[in-house]
């Protein structure tokens, strides 16, 4: 304990030692484009809950779904993004996004274990809606590559959050908690669908 305390004191002093810390992010193209893209999915709760649901469901299904779904989603999402950028209309995008939360949350709540290809197709289908929404909203002023990198990374990190929470399924109480969260995601999706949120 003494050793640990000494180490903590030294570490704290070392961290306080730097003379200059510049904390302001450059508001220009570089960090501005990346940050704008990074926060884009985070500022829409319909996106957030659906991304977390993908991670939860992947953790629930176990390997290889636990990493396959977070690989499939960004790749197919980018195709949706391409369609959005190209101006190809997809009907009822916002409805599709709301449905993604309902269906994916429902899968977790019901502890559904379909074949891997079914899960991948379902996730991919909804990824197109999310990607289309990001692609059409790609702002002209930001650095598009950094914006794109930002929203893809944010999406991936939301998956990781879902996976991390989903790992609780190894315990019986954890399974209940994860399925409860899945049910909550379904309710949030319903709220978006009917216009409550």
């Amino acid at each position: 304990m003494k050793k640990c305390l000494r180490s903590m004191i030294v570490l704290t002093m070392v961290l306080l030692a730097p003379l200059v810390a510049i904390a302001h992010a450059d508001a220009g193209d570089t960090t501005g484009g990346f940050l704008a893209g990074f926060f884009h999915p985070l500022l829409g709760w319909d996106h957030v809950v659906a991304m977390v649901a993908v991670g939860l469901w992947g953790a629930f299904l176990g390997a290889p779904a636990i990493w396959l779904l977070p690989v499939v989603f960004p790749l197919v999402m980018s195709i949706g993004g391409v369609l959005g950028v190209a101006g190809v209309p997809i009907p009822a995008v916002e409805t599709g996004i709301a449905l993604s939360a309902i269906v994916l949350g429902g899968m977790v709540a019901a502890a559904a274990r379909p074949p891997l290809w079914v899960a991948a197709v379902l996730v991919g289908l909804f990824a197109i809606f999310h990607g289309h929404a990001h692609g059409t909203e790609l702002p002209a002023s930001a650095n598009p590559l950094l914006f794109s990198l930002g929203f893809v990374m944010a999406t991936g990190l939301l998956h990781v959050c879902g996976i991390a929470f989903g790992l609780l399924t190894r315990w019986p109480a954890g399974r209940v908690a994860v399925r409860t969260v899945g049910g909550s995601i379904t309710l949030v999706g319903l709220a978006f669908l009917v216009g409550l949120l």
Binding site: V14, P74, S78, V82, V85, A86, L138, M153
Partner: protein
Amino acid sequence: MNAWHRRLVGFALASSACGAYAHSPVAGMNHFYSGMVHPVLVPAHVIALAVSGLWIGLGPGDDKTHITLLGAAAVGLILGIFVTLPAMEQFVLTLATVMAIAVALHWAGPSAVRLGVVACLGVLLGLDSTPDGLSGSQLWLSLAGTWLAIALIVAAMILLCQVAARPWQRIALRVIASWLAASALVVVALVSFKPAQTAAPNRSGAVMQR
């Protein structure tokens, strides 16, 4: 010297840091550092180099691919002195997308395909990195710096792949590659379908509309 004294010395060293100056003390060497910084300042190049490092590092482990990439980059840098081609960044991103998808899908490909792809990427990176407005020793210093930066970035990614020996770490790298592929693909589409909306720095650093 006991552990406590070592910590105190470490703290003293950490506290002694003041300004870090990036200007070279050697006259005329600034262009070398400018060349070194160039690949890091162009997001498309960073993505391409990161992905190529992942593809080489997670692949069968032959040195030919790595050497081919570096050799092609050198050729591209020299060719760029005489040749100016438009839309290089778009081609770099397209190749980066293909390689990133290959990494995500854990596809190494035949040796001939690997060598061909990295050679193309190396030449394109070199062509897109040759600076305008420099000549003589300044130009060659800048090219040397850029080539060294390319070599270091790729080597760092290959080293990362070697350090990431556990299965979950390798999967994490493939997931990251899928993110890079997704990002690059959207931008390739943007450049293809809406070129007026994309602004890219030309090789001398000024922003120009495509």
